[in-house]
């Protein structure tokens, strides 16, 4: 199922989605002429402020909403067709699963819905639960899970049928930095396996770390799209990091650069707060588990 190609996992053309609001039938445009191509094998970040049309776009990709105009295809299949979802795994924002089921029962339920053959089902359920690091809590009821555990069991259900495309809607919303980092690790491992991942998140630092491509939406419109490195890198500037220089040497260096027409700005380099946090706090268990399991 996982043959990496450069073909499009998702292709959206001229997508418009209007919602009718209130009894008077006022139209609200949530997505306005969006066109997007997400190649296979990439981690793609869909960014935008609240109400920018990210979730609506995801729901259209999943066939949960019908576009007012335009088209959306998943691996070449129109998204309103059931078979477009054969190769898609989805983790919604802040998911609440069936609280009365245990982790294993929950993943088994989704495996049966996805048609994972019965002879492979139990092994596959165990495999994904281990992969998301929930083996120890697999027999506990989902109702007793923490927010981070819910996200991870959500990821397990999204992966249970070994899809080629995984859609994660705010996968780290409400999760602490440790849990968030673990989810980031899992996403990078999915990428290593050649999966396509579409992710929306408010944590821009996280997006920057894990995404190859990003698209930014505002008021339903695509306002920016490209490779992360190209979008955030400043091509006409460079940073040189040196040990702390005595003031005299620093002045000499500034003068030397000035003679050649270059300006020097001096700043104290800072560690990123999330990295500092993660280096100081203990991380429970192993977020990964079996390599290449999913």
């Amino acid at each position: 199922m996982t043959t990496p190609t450069t073909a499009a996992a998702i292709e959206i053309r001229g997508l418009i989605k209007d919602f009718t609001v209130g009894l008077r039938g006022v139209k609200l445009r949530a997505v306005d002429g969006l066109s997007l191509r997400i190649p296979e094998g990439q981690v793609f970040g869909l960014l935008g402020p609240n109400g920018s049309g990210k979730s609506t776009t995801i729901k259209i990709i999943l066939g949960l909403l019908e576009p007012t105009l335009g088209e959306c295809r998943v691996f070449g299949v129109p998204s309103h067709q059931v078979d477009s979802r054969l190769n898609v795994g989805y983790l919604p924002e802040a998911p609440y699963f069936y609280r009365y089921l245990s982790g294993t029962e929950l993943v088994r339920f989704y495996a049966r819905i996805c048609g994972v053959p019965s002879e492979r089902r139990e092994a596959r359920v165990r495999e994904v639960i281990e992969w998301v690091g929930l083996a120890a809590a697999a027999s506990r009821r989902v109702g007793t899970y923490s927010k981070g555990m819910l996200q991870r069991i959500g990821l397990a259900q999204a992966l249970v049928h070994d899809p080629r495309l995984i859609i994660l809607d705010e996968p780290t919303a409400g999760v602490d930095p440790v849990g968030s980092a673990e989810i980031s690790e899992l996403i990078l491992r999915l990428k290593a396996q050649g999966k396509t991942v579409l992710i929306t998140s408010h944590l821009l630092a996280q997006i920057e770390d894990i995404c190859d491509h990003v698209a930014i939406l505002d008021h339903g419109r695509l306002i920016l799209e490209g490779r992360v490195a190209e979008l955030v890198g400043q091509k006409n500037r460079q940073a040189l990091i040196v040990d702390t220089l005595p003031p005299a040497e620093l002045e000499a260096l500034r003068a030397w650069l000035a003679e050649r027409g270059h300006a020097l700005s001096v700043e104290q380099p800072r560690a990123r707060l999330d990295q500092l946090f993660l280096s100081k706090v203990s991380r429970p268990g192993n977020a990964g588990g079996k390599e290449g399991g999913a």
């Binding site: 009718t20 009894l23 008077r24 039938g25």
Partner: protein, 267 residues
């Protein structure tokens, strides 16, 4: 208004109406049969006694249980010897659900047998009330009960037990043997009549001095009874038919009517 919602609502209503039309042939015979067993509710006659909730309950399929609850109330009123309440509740119960014979028969018996005692007690007791007054109470209550049974017979014209109840009130309360005999004759003529109805009719004819009529009736009646050894009848039927007792009565009448031996009934 969302046009799609309006369109979809119209489709749903249209399909449901079409389904109702198409399924009517499946439902109508069953509903007709049901209505035939379940007389229309005469709401106007009972509405005053009911609250709106009870009325909706009645119309909404809880008719039997509402009648049962009122019957329990009637019993509570009976326990208190509250004549107006008991009588009203009996009428209410039979108006709500006229199907169970139990309501009619027990209601009539309460009215005819118990209420005269209540009235006598309320008027000062048996010593204080004159025999004529006591008879008047008996007669008045019996007439109310017979009127109730007449309504019952309009609902269940082939029910022998109603005729028997009527006959017993005529005999025991009104002391009207002729009317009682006629009711027993009617009871004996019904399809589910117990065998004793025909026997008692013959006995009453004899008691009224109409021996020849009694003789003719019992001979005819005897021929319809299951006899010991009959393959078609159950032991219970044979036992309760008491064919030997009927034959003995026929022979007694033959002796009293001096029927010649050669013309005697052989059975």
């Amino acid at each position: 208004m969302d046009l799609r919602l309006v369109r979809s609502g119209a489709v749903v209503a249209g399909v449901l109406a079409l389904a109702g039309l198409m399924l009517r042939p499946l439902e109508a015979p069953a509903w007709r049969a049901m209505r035939a067993q379940q007389p229309a509710l005469k709401l106007e006659s009972i509405q005053g006694a009911l609250g709106q909730g009870v009325t909706v309950g009645l119309l909404g399929g809880f008719r039997a249980i509402v009648a049962d609850l009122f019957w329990i109330s009637a019993n509570a009123a009976w326990d208190q010897e509250d004549l107006p309440a008991t009588q009203t509740l009996i009428k209410l119960v039979t108006a709500i659900d006229p199907r169970p014979l139990f309501f009619w028969i027990n209601g009539a018996n309460m009215i005819a047998y118990d209420m005269p005692h209540w009235r006598i007690r309320a008027a000062g007791g048996y010593d204080a009330v004159s025999a004529a007054e006591q008879n008047r109470f008996d007669r008045e209550q019996a007439e109310v009960a017979l009127k109730l049974l007449q309504e019952a017979l309009a609902q269940h014209p082939e029910e022998a037990s109603l005729y028997i109840c009527k006959a017993n009130i005529q005999l025991n309360r009104l002391k009207d043997t002729a009317a009682g005999a006629e009711s027993y004759r009617m009871a004996a003529a019904q399809p589910n009549a117990p065998y004793f109805a025909g026997r008692i009719y013959g006995e009453l004819l004899k008691r009224m001095g109409r021996k020849q009529e009694a003789y003719v009736w019992l001979k005819q009646f005897y021929l319809t009874l299951p006899k010991p050894g009959s393959a078609q009848a159950t032991p219970w039927q044979i036992e309760t038919a008491m064919a030997d007792v009927v034959l003995e009565r026929i022979h007694e009448l033959e002796r009293e009517l001096k029927v010649p031996k050669e013309q005697a009934f052989k059975g």
